[in-house]
Each structure stands twice: as structure tokens, then as C-alpha cells.
Subunit: 696 residues, 2 copies
């Protein structure tokens, strides 16, 4: 295995080198517009300030958790000796640090690429596209490079898969807060800016008179770039960790020093990163426009990945069944992405029907959007169900334990091209920012048309990548459930609890399991409600601040030359509010998991995780897709349908869009992370739940 | 046991006699206002027409299902001989007929009691209350009497619990369509009437100029009376059937002719009906107003029930542990009702916060309402989880099989006072109608104030009874899952499939189970989306019709004397639309269950049912409570808060109320029935899934 770990470390270094090259490529794009430079500077500064504040709070939080981990995990330190607990605590800290660093790198480049993309748009759509895409790709490379490097180092140094779960938990717990915090920040700013600017005063989006406009652009970066990066870093680490935990059990069962199953995981993950590098390098915008360019680069990466892993499977004598499971995961990921696209694409019936329903008033916008959102979950859930069933059955001839490994490898396969997915995803907020900068820098209507076109491609691709991310999280957590069983059984043996405590799963008919399942099912709903209420409260604060500025700053409303709103105040409100509101939701998630574990033991936790996964996936898909659908329905109406801008249908569509904002950018994508966090806590605390629980 | 069956039949006869007495009591209340008589006649006629149309479609549907059942269930008739299949088909038909008859009886009395209650209001609030309450109680008695009679007769005649599941499926399949159809009808009419009348034209609710006003009042009867009655008949039969299926297994295992476990079920169910009769008889409105009167009668019934069953347990030597399980179920039901009340009561924070958020626009009404709805699911789910865990563990010392029986008895306990619950619930639409009649009959402001007060009590109590209904359905379906396992094992033995096919449950780690679980989780979401879209489409049709009438009928808008809108047209649209839209949602539910069973076999079905239960309960609670919350937030604003009527907050609150209408009265309560239906289909088709499935 150590060969493959070394290969993985080498490939991750290549990714960092490529990121560095992309970074310099973007930086070298000429820019000269002073106004844009100034506004771009404000955005960068705001984003940096937020991240610094957020990370300093999270550092304290992580410090406390690290101490708790050191004291109690995997076993109380006084029973276990220092080494293992220290490894665990350090791995946890490393997970948080890697996540934070990847987020900061991505965010810094994004806040340069936005300026470059805006100015490049004066030269045409292609240079503007390339600036944004390659800026986004830096994030993609940084995240996947960090995943591979981190996982490799932990395994190289400790050789313990339990410690790997500590690393993964570090990544997850940071992601939980980064995603939720960034999501609250971005939607607070977005909603408030729109509500006062567009709805009340009728001034255009990104109008520099609007005190929340900089906060809005900062939000795109901290929510959609840094938050999303942390989210996918988390999923990626979790899928590798789950696969490695199961692989280690298999390797141990096979006896001896053969570690072929762990080798497969590293090899396929490294191949995914290589494929993403190739995909990013080859990406160009052709005649078919930016959407096709983004989607084509995904398809190219997929094919390259399938070919590379096939070659590796042949060369190293891996099992073709495992390869099949991996490719099935990838294929289903792409299919689910396409299905999500159907429900949010403005050329497809759902968007048209919601736009039409809007003519009857906002209640119908909401009702139809919620309905299509609910329906949109079906194909994705069927896809995940079918993928896991297929992966399992394909690997079943290798043995029952290999069948669960097959599911884990399907998750690895689905996440293999995550480097490419993040590049596409980070492209979105960069061009969104570029559009704002072009508006504020008065670059003219031709340039705005170009940035609008790029922005629209970003929105369309976002739906695909979000469907993909949810599906990947789904398979990952199924695999994590498998990892949980492996962990529990390992601990049972270690603690000498007796064979009768070994578990082969969780029986739904056991009311302890059912008890956990019902409570687990409620968690994603409550968690997302808390985030949405957070946005709601915070937006109310910011709206009052915007009103105050328009009232008190003379000449602002009229756009008098030289009168500048106090952008910083709005950024501060968004920052403080986000940090204040994210803590309760995160704590609720962690504490209820511990409560269920200490009441019902590992059986209740098994049910809890299952309930959490099913409703979590359902709600994540529903919220992401409804949100995207409302966003595009509004744009569709604005493009002149159902009465166009200013019509009653438009007003109703704006209500839908506002409801959809925290759905798709705060709650929906945070649920992914919430699911992963509870899965990892459960695995880490397996020993405690085994030895200390009320009911068994 | 046959003693207890005879007692049950006697008690059910007593209930029918009491219903007859109540019916005559209501009919004897004097009424003289011709205008009210005329409008009341229209409502009665509209409701009768709808039910006739609906039942004639459902009769054909039930006929087809009965033939299918005869041919295939429990086993293909050519392998099984005629008797058992014929019993099953006839029991199915009996289930549909009993449900329909109970619905018709309740609905007929309700459409008399509304007139009586309206006129009695001229004499004061107490007579008006009594007319409405006793009118509603007829429905309560009819439904519970029919349950006890039907179940007793099936057991007396066939002695087969499998056949009982056929009867239960008859009740369920009719309820599925009656609830969904009635729900679509009532909300189509309600939304359309409000949208054109209140929002566009600013005329009061129940203004006779509004062409949809009669349809709206008809809707209250067909949706909230007949539909709700079918729903609770279904839950009640299902809970008794599940308990009897498990009891029969226990009795058979105990050997000999002892049938004490089945006797307990009949005895406790009969006690519940007796308690409800006493509760209804004692109900009077005191100084504390109508809400307290309704709630007190529930509490009285609960106490009487606990006492009666304790006496029976002592007298007949039943196990006190089973009694405890039963009482726990009842207590938790009441607690969950109270928790639901917290989220929808207009004196509690959630309603105030949603009203406050409305001042910032409709998007915030929606976001905050959805959030509190999500949160409201937590206490109920924890309650159900705790009740089932407690019931199980209390009965565990009797043996593991008795533990599952304990859960079934908790469900029976929760549903024991359903006669009282229905009386309270049917009271709501009757006073709602009475309010409309008082308005249309020009009975004056004093009378309207009384009917408003009664109506408001109806809304408050509705939240409690809905929480109760969902909780009861939750425990019932857990018990049905147990019944499914009993059925499968019975069939395995019968078919001689070998001991290795016997099941002790469903392992979440088995991907076939997980496959079913993910798909089952999506079903309630898609089902409710289809119903909501049905309301949406149908309301659009009706809105155009209302516009047409105001445009084409001269003098209507101005309220010229003698000009009457074409009420019948609106009733026709609501009727046709409801019947058209309910079919696909119902078929989808049935077909996807069969698809999962034939693909993945009984293991996949186990997962499917579990997934279905958890998301079904979550969504049912969320939708019912959000809907009630928005309704009351609107009323709270109308009472003068946050700017009062006509303010922006009011407009936003109206949007929330409109979104909430199909949530709380169409989709939410239909999910209960949807869950029961799939559970019953699964049990009935157990043999087919065992012998004919793709994966095992």
C-alpha cells in the first residue's frame, strides 16, 4: 500500500503545482479599471474579514472539541494511554486546518478572478470565461489535493483507520459551520439587498448606492466558494475514509501484510484527481457557449477517469467488480445531475409551469415550486438506491463484506471527479461577482450582456453539481454506516465484550432502532429550520440597517457623486449574525446524536443514522431543486414571459426566489454536511455508546 | 373470545342507537329562516352530488380491485381454492362499504346540523354549540360503531386475521381516495373563493354574490367531515387489525383454544367506544367557552377509558403490562396533541413570530412558517418514538413477541377515544358552515360574533386532533410492520418455503432493505406534491369560472336583488377536478409499492415501509402544523396585530394561509392514509412478493 500512498502524495503535489500555475495565470491577466479594482478590493477585504472572524470562532470551538477528543476518544484516555487519543486529536485538528486552508486559498483566488473576469469581458466572452473557470479551478485543485494529501499522511503516519475518522470529523465539523455560516451570510445579504433595492426602491441589482451590495458580493465568495469547498472537501474525505475503514477490515480478515483493498482506494482516488487535472487543462469555450463548455469538461473528466482506472485495474490486478462499482457510482452521479437539471432548467416544463402559476399570485408560485421540488427528489433517490443495490450485488460474489465495500467504492467513484465539479461550481460565484463589478465599474451594456450570459451558465451548471453533491453524500453516508458497523465490531473485540455484542446490522423491527430512526428523521428538518430562521432574523436586522442608511446618509438615494454608503456596516451585520446563528444549529446536531447514543446505544444510533440519511437526502434534494427552480422561474419571467418584469407574475416569482434563496444556498447544501457529521460522531463515539448507554 | 366479540357487537349497536338519538335530537331543533333553509339545501345537495359522483367512480375502482384480490390474494385462486380468496374479496368490499356508509351518515347529519347551529345562535352560544357538537358526534359514533361492528363480524364469520387485513385494506383504499378527493375539492373551492372574493374584489367571506361560496361550504362537508371520517375509520380499523394479527400469532403459539390476546383487543376497543359515548353525553359548554368544552370532553373520555380498561383488566385477568402499553399510547397521543397546539395556537410565540415576519413580505411568512412547521415535527416524533420504546419494553418481560403486541396495543390505546376525537373534529366544519349560513341569512352581527367564536374554537381543536391522528397513524403503522412480519412468516410456513426464509426483521445494512427505504422515503413527498398540484390546477380552472360569472352575469357584482350566481357550475368544477386529480396520486402509491415488492421482495418492502413511515410522519406533521400556523397567523393579523386588516402584513399572511390550505387540509392528512394503504397492500401481497420477486 505504501507505494500507492506515495503515488497519492505525488499526485496531490502535482495538483497543488497545477493550482499554483492556474493562480499565476489568472493573476497575469491585465486589469486597469480603478473603480473595479476599488470595489474588488472591498469585496476581498470583506470576505477576508468574515473568514478571519469565522475561523477564529471556529478555532476556539475546534480547540474544545480537540480536548474532548483527546480525553474521551476512541476511549477515555485514562484507560487507553496517550498515543491513540493524541493521534485522534491531532488528526481532528489537521482535518479542520486542511479544510480551512483549502477554503482560504480558493476564496483568495476567487476574489482576484472576479475582477479579472469582469475586465476580460471587455475583450469578449472567451477570455472572460477562461478567467472565471481557471480561477474556480484553483479551488477545485486545492480541495482535492488537500483531501488526498491529508488522507495519505494520516495513513502513512498512524496506519490507523480510526484516526482517519478523526481527520474526517475535523473536516466535517468545520464544513458544518463553514457551510452554515457562509450560507447564512450570503443569503442575509442577498435577500436584504434585493428586498430594499429591487423590490422597494426599484434600483437595479448591484447598484453601488445599495449599502448591502458589497456584502452581497462578499456572500457569494464566503458562501458559494469557501463554504461549498469545505462541503465537498468533507464529502470527499468522508468517502475515502469510509472506503478505507471497510478496506482495512477486509485486508485484516485476509490476513498477512496484503493491503490490496486499501491500495485500490488510494489508486482510484489519485486517478480521479489526475482526470480532473486533465479535464481542467482541456476546458475551452467553443461555439456552443459557456454551459456546454462546463458540461463537456465534466464529461471529458468522467471518460478519462473511467479509462485511467481501467488501466490501473488491469496493471495492478485489482478486481474488475470493484472497478464496476466505482464506475456505476460515477455514472449514476452524472445521471442524477442531469435529472436535477430537468427540474431547474428554464427550457423545461417545471420552470414554465411555476412561471405560469405565478400569474395567479405568490401562493401558487410557492405551492407549485414546493410540489416540483418534492417530485424532483424521486429520480435522485431511486438513482442512489439503484446504484447502491447494483454496486452491492456486483461485488457480492467476492464475499458479503466486499459487497459493502462495493457501495463505498461507488461513493468514491461518484466523488472521484470532484475536482472538476468544484471548478464548475466555483465558476458560478466568480462570474456572479464579475457581473456586479461590470455594473459598478460602468463597463457598458455589451459587457453586461456577456457577464449575464456567463452568469446564467453558472446557475444552470450549479443545479447539476448540487444534485451530484447530494447523491455523493448519499452514497458516502451509506458507506459510513458500513464503517460504523466495522468500528463497533472492532471495539467489541478490543474491549472483549463477548461475541454476542458483535452486530451484523440494525433491525428495523427492533424498537430501539426504530426509536433512533424516528428521531434521526426529524434532525435534518429541525436543523434546516434553524438555519432558515437564522437567515430570516439576520435579514430583518440588515434591512433595518439599509433603511437607516438611506434615511440618514444625505444624497445617497439620489446617487449624488461622491456619496458612498457604509458598506462595512452591512458586512458586519451579516458576519455577526451568521456566527451567532450557526452555533445553535450545529450544537443541536451534535448533542442530539450524543443523546440518542447514550440513551439507546449503538442500535439506536444505527436507526438514527438511517432515519437521518433518508430524510436528509429528501430535504436536501427538495430544497436545492425548489430553490433553483424558483430562481430560474423568476429569470424566465424577467425574460418577458407571463407579463415580464413588473407584472404581477414577476412580483410573485420574486417571492418564490426569495423563499428559494435560503433553501438552495443555506439549508439544502448544509444538510449534506449535517448527515456526514452525525455519521462520523457516531463512529468516533462507538466505544462510549457501547459501554455507556441507558437501554443496552 | 367469542364472548368479547359479542360484547363488541352489542357496544357497536349501542353506539348506533346513540347516534340515532343524537341525530333526532339535532333534527328536532327548531328552524324557520327560509333563506338559511334554501342555502343549507344547496349545500346539502352539492355535498350529496359530490359524494354520489365520487363513490360511483370509487365503486368501479373497488370492483376492479375486488376482482384482482379474488384472483390473486392471498394466493392465486387456481392454487388456493375459492373460499379464502372469496372471503378476502368480500371483506375488502365490506371495508369500502362500511367506510362509505359511515361517511354518508356523518355528512348528512352535518349538513343538517350546520343549519340548526346557525339558527340556534340567535338564542345564544350554548344552544348553537350543542347543535354543532352533537351533530358532529353522530359521525363519531357512526365511525367507531362501524369499526367495531365490521371487525367483529369479519372475525366472527371467518376467524381469519388475513381476511381482516382485506377488510382494513377496503377501508384504507376508500379513505385514500375519499380524503384526497375531498381534500382537493374543499381547497379548490376555498382558495378560489378567497382569491377572487376577498383578495381581488374585497367582498367578505361567505358573501352570497361569490359563485364559489356554496362550493366552499360543500367542501367543508366533503373534505373535513366525510374525508376525515374515512381517514379515522381507516386508522381505527388498521390499528385493531394489526393488533389482532399479532394477537392471533401469540394465541396460536400459546396453543389450544385460548384466545386471550385477541379478547384484550376487542375488550379495550369496546371500552374506548363506551368511554366516547359517555364523553359525548357529558359534554356541555361552561363558562370557559367552546375550546375548553371540547378539550375537557376529551380529557373526561381519556380518564373514563383508563378506568374502564383497568376494571376490565382486573375482572378478566388480562396482563397489566398490556394495559400500561395501552394507556401510554393514549397519554402520548394527548401530549402530542398539546404539542401541536403550541405551534398553531394564536396565543403562543410561533404564531406571533410568523405574523411579525409577515410585515417584511410574503417570502418571510413562508420561510418562518415552514421553519416552525419543521420544528413542530420533533416533539411528535420523539413522542411516538418514546411511546413505542416504552410500550415495547414494558411488555418485553412477557416475551419478545408480546413486546411488539405492546406497540400495537399502544396504537389501539391512542385510537381508543377516536369517537370523541371525531366528534370534536366534525364540530369544526359544522360551525364553519354555520358561520357562512349566518352571514348569508343576514342574522346580524351579534349572531356572527357567536359563530365566529365557535369557529375559532373549531380551528384550535383541529390542530390538537390532527396531531393526535398523525401520532395514532404512526403507532399503527409500526404495528402494521409487525403484522407484515407475522404475515410473511405465516406464508413461509404455509408455502413450505423452508426455515431459512423466515424473517425476524429487516436489516438496514442489507442494501435491498436500504433500496426500499430510500424509495419509500420519496413516496409521501411525491404523493403530496401530486395532490397539491391537483389543487393548484383545479383552483386555476375555478378562478376562471368565477371571473367569467362576474363578467357575464349582469348585476352580480353590484349585488342586485334577485341576481344569483350559478353556484352549481363551481361545484361541478370542484367535483370533476377532484375526481380527475385524485386517481393518479392514488395509483402512483399502489403501483410503486407493487414495483418495489416485485423487484426486491419482502426485504425491500420492509425497508420501503420504514422509509415511508418516517418521511410520511415528518411531512404530515410539518404540513398540518405549518398550515394551521399560517391560518392562525392570518387571523391574528386580522385581529389588529402588525397593522391589521389591509396592511402589508395582512396581505403576506393571506399568502401564507393560501399556501397552508392544501398543506393542512389536502396533502397533510392524506399522508396518514397513504402510509396505511401501502402497509396493508404489503401484508396482503406478502405471498406474491415471497414467491415472485426479481432479487430474492
Amino acid at each position: 500500500m505504501s507505494l500507492f500512498i506515495r503515488i497519492s502524495i505525488a499526485v496531490s503535489m502535482l495538483a497543488f503545482a497545477f493550482a499554483w500555475w492556474l493562480n499565476n495565470w489568472v493573476k497575469k491577466i491585465p486589469s486597469s479599471n480603478k473603480r473595479i479594482a476599488q470595489v474588488g478590493g472591498w469585496i476581498r477585504e470583506g470576505a477576508t474579514t468574515f473568514l478571519r472572524r469565522e475561523y477564529s470562532v471556529l478555532a476556539k470551538f475546534a480547540g474544545v472539541i480537540a480536548v474532548i477528543i483527546f480525553l474521551f476518544l476512541p476511549k477515555p484516555v485514562w484507560n487507553n494511554g496517550i498515543t491513540q487519543n493524541l493521534h485522534m486529536a491531532l488528526a481532528y485538528i489537521a482535518g479542520t486546518v486542511f479544510s480551512a486552508v483549502a477554503g482560504v486559498i480558493g476564496m483568495r483566488v476567487a476574489t482576484i478572478a472576479n475582477v479579472k473576469s469582469a475586465e476580460a469581458a471587455t475583450k469578449g466572452i472567451k477570455p472572460s470565461f477562461m478567467a472565471a473557470f481557471r480561477g474556480g479551478a484553483v479551488m477545485g485543485m486545492a480541495v482535492v489535493g488537500a483531501t488526498l494529501l491529508g488522507v495519505s499522511l494520516v495513513m502513512q503516519i498512524t496506519g490507523e483507520t480510526s484516526t482517519l475518522l478523526g481527520f474526517s470529523f475535523g473536516a466535517s465539523s468545520l464544513a458544518l459551520f463553514a457551510k452554515a455560516g457562509g450560507g447564512i451570510f450570503t443569503k442575509t445579504a442577498d435577500i436584504s439587498a434585493d428586498l430594499v433595492g429591487k423590490v422597494e426602491m426599484g434600483i437595479p441589482e448591484d447598484d453601488p448606492r445599495n449599502p448591502a451590495v458589497i456584502a452581497d458580493n462578499v456572500g457569494d465568495n464566503v458562501g458559494d466558494v469557501a463554504g461549498m469547498g469545505a462541503d465537498l472537501f468533507d464529502s470527499n474525505v468522508a468517502s475515502m475514509s469510509a472506503a478505507l475503514v471497510i478496506a482495512a477490515t477486509l485486508d485484516a480478515a485476509a490476513g498477512g501484510t496484503d493491503t490490496i483493498n486499501q491500495a485500490v482506494v488510494f489508486c482510484y482516488a489519485a486517478a480521479g484527481l489526475l482526470a480532473s487535472i486533465i479535464g481542467v487543462m482541456l476546458a475551452r469555450m467553443g461555439k456552443k457557449g459557456p454551459t456546454a463548455a462546463l458540461n463537456n469538461s465534466t464529461y471529458v473528466t468522467t471518460l478519462v477517469y473511467a479509462a485511467l482506472t481501467a488501466a490501473a485495474t488491469h496493471a495492478f490486478g485489482f478486481s474488475w467488480r470493484i472497478w464496476c462499482a466505482c464506475v456505476i457510482g460515477l455514472a449514476v452521479g452524472v445521471i442524477i445531475g442531469i435529472a436535477s437539471d430537468y427540474f431547474t432548467d428554464d427550457t423545461k416544463p417545471p420552470v414554465h409551469k411555476v412561471a405560469k402559476a405565478s400569474a395567479a399570485g405568490p401562493a401558487f408560485t410557492i405551492l407549485s415550486g414546493i410540489s416540483y421540488g418534492f417530485i424532483s427528489a424521486l429520480p435522485a433517490l431511486v438513482g442512489i438506491a439503484a446504484a447502491s443495490l447494483a454496486a452491492y450485488n456486483i461485488c457480492l460474489p467476492l464475499g458479503k463484506e466486499y459487497a459493502m465495500f462495493g457501495i463505498a467504492m461507488a461513493a468514491v467513484g461518484m466523488l472521484s471527479i470532484v475536482g472538476m465539479i468544484i471548478s464548475n461550481d466555483a465558476y458560478g460565484p466568480i462570474v456572479d461577482n464579475a457581473r456586479g463589478l461590470a455594473e459598478m465599474g460602468n463597463l457598458g451594456d455589451d459587457v453586461l450582456e456577456i457577464t449575464d450570459q456567463l452568469d446564467s451558465a453558472g446557475n444552470t451548471v450549479k443545479a447539476v453539481t448540487k444534485g451530484f453533491a447530494v447523491a455523493a453524500a448519499g452514497l458516502t453516508v451509506i458507506a459510513l454506516l458500513g464503517a460504523f458497523v466495522s468500528e463497533v465490531n472492532e471495539k467489541v473485540v478490543e474491549l472483549g465484550l463477548g461475541v454476542e455484542r458483535l452486530i451484523s446490522g440494525f433491525n428495523i423491527m427492533d424498537p430501539t432502532v426504530f426509536f433512533g430512526m424516528l428521531i434521526g428523521a426529524a434532525v435534518p428538518a429541525v436543523f434546516s429550520a434553524m438555519l432558515i430562521l437564522g437567515v430570516d432574523k439576520n435579514a430583518q436586522r440588515m434591512v433595518s440597517e439599509i433603511h437607516r442608511q438611506f434615511r440618514e446618509i444625505k444624497g445617497l438615494k439620489e446617487g449624488k457623486a461622491g456619496v458612498v454608503p457604509e458598506y462595512g456596516k452591512c458586512i458586519e451585520i451579516a458576519t455577526n449574525g451568521a456566527i451567532k446563528e450557526l452555533i445553535p444549529a450545529g450544537l443541536f446536531t451534535i448533542l442530539i446524536t450524543l443523546a440518542v447514543g447514550f440513551i439507546g446505544g449503538v442500535q439506536a444510533i444505527g436507526g438514527f443514522l438511517a432515519g437521518n440519511i433518508v430524510t436528509g437526502l429528501l430535504l436536501a434534494l427538495f430544497m436545492s431543486n425548489s430553490g433553483g427552480l424558483w430562481d430560474n422561474a423568476k429569470k424566465y419571467v424577467e425574460a418577458g414571459h407571463e407579463g415580464g418584469k413588473g407584472s404581477p407574475a414577476h412580483k410573485a416569482a420574486v417571492v418564490g426566489d426569495t423563499v428559494g434563496d435560503p433553501f438552495k444556498d443555506t439549508a439544502g447544501p448544509s444538510i449534506n454536511t449535517q448527515i456526514t457529521v452525525v455519521s462520523l460522531i457516531s463512529s468516533l463515539a462507538a466505544t462510549l455508546f457501547l459501554t455507556t448507554s441507558l437501554f443496552r
